[in-house]
Symmetry: C2
Subunit: 238 residues, 2 copies
Amino acid sequence: MSNAQLAINNETGHAAGVNEWLGDGQSAQIKMGSSFTTTHERPLDMHEHLFMIGDKQTHLYQILEGVIGVYKMLPDGRRQIVTFYYPGDMIGGGDKSNWTQHAEALCNAKVRCIPVSTVDTLITTEPGFGQALMSMLATELEETRDQLLSLGRKSALEKVATFLLRISRRNKREGADESLLHLPMKRAEIADYLGLTIETVSRNITKLKTTGIIRLESKSEISVKDISLLEELADGGN
Amino acid sequence: MSNAQLAINNETGHAAGVNEWLGDGQSAQIKMGSSFTTTHERPLDMHEHLFMIGDKQTHLYQILEGVIGVYKMLPDGRRQIVTFYYPGDMIGGGDKSNWTQHAEALCNAKVRCIPVSTVDTLITTEPGFGQALMSMLATELEETRDQLLSLGRKSALEKVATFLLRISRRNKREGADESLLHLPMKRAEIADYLGLTIETVSRNITKLKTTGIIRLESKSEISVKDISLLEELADGGN
DNA sequence: CGATCTTTTGAAAGCTTTCAATCCAAGTGG
DNA sequence: CCACTTGGATTGAAAGCTTTCAAAAGATCG
């Protein structure tokens, strides 16, 4: 059970243990005491919605493949992506009966659907499961607060640097190359995540490229040439 | 036990039930099964820190009086306040052993300190307590995501309007006058919460005043003259 | 190879910040 | 009781950064 998928959206490196019960995505079953509960997988095409705001929260989702973007919108169409979920991450865990935002696949994806009733059962029958869920929420809150710092106080260049660094760190944590970043999402989605426009994102990626800090292998493939410089930029270099 | 203090930082109106165990701030004891655990209160002067980043997380705190600001900083001094905690709110509940941000009293305040060991005990002995904590975290995550939308996608005027509206709704929820807003914090703290400068906050409050949407009774006392207009502004008027 | 979607680049406009000065309210001391 | 001091809030003008509008350059797909 120890593999990269064990991470629960844990940017901070916490070993949130929800997957100890939910498995690593290879099995379709969840152990509950001595019995098992069957879940089902759901494939998602690029841009397909997993749920929309107001939908009844019937399941928790574990990302198996691809990346899911969760976002909020203003009535006039402005959009803010609040988080990207990667394989191994769990979506849900709150106590709301309805979703309070939209979730859309940013590329072809696959999720495991766990009925909320199963989750409720696990909480009462499996000691530690509730704690794991709590830990997951706490980690997510922590990351969201970091993002607040980015959106509220960082310049466009710093935001982009922070974003790339976050991907680099995720790679490192999962044993992948921390210098080779894959961006599964479009510039528009990076922009909506960083509170910028497409053009500003593009310009600042170009700036990082010109400075020699990164290299664009392709539009969605970036190699970091100088991580320490990137870190300095991301934290408001000092 | 049913009073305004029951709210757990619940902007969304959720009746998170942690205070069912922790009481309403009038008692110094917590019921644990048939026994009680004693906690202690701690008064805080204006600008006194409740904890600093990196400090060991020894207690959870329940706000009894005043307002506490929780913030993060960049190495060069830029600050982002991630949330304001009001009476009835709980600080903590994550699973981190150390605080990941600073907490400072914005005015004279008082908190009840609950040892983490007590919390751990409550989680295992009091059915429902863990759920209540989880609910609290979920609500906080939700609010933080709303703030992301503000910081990432709203104009300065919209941010200020949203901020005032949030206070108005808190008042309403607690049975206070939704049209008379008391701002316990300085402009500088509003600015650090909204990702703006003091001057921009001031200018936009003036703008709201000039438009007749609000009236400044004093520097920290605002009366809302047209709530629906304020709401329209806050949500990106359409 | 043409059509379409995405990214990049350029130039002007706009909004927020920065820098500076003034205003205000509260507290202090004579 | 009235200057005087002080910290905070407001207002003004210029600078700066990001957005907007527009167009060109790349990709992708049939």
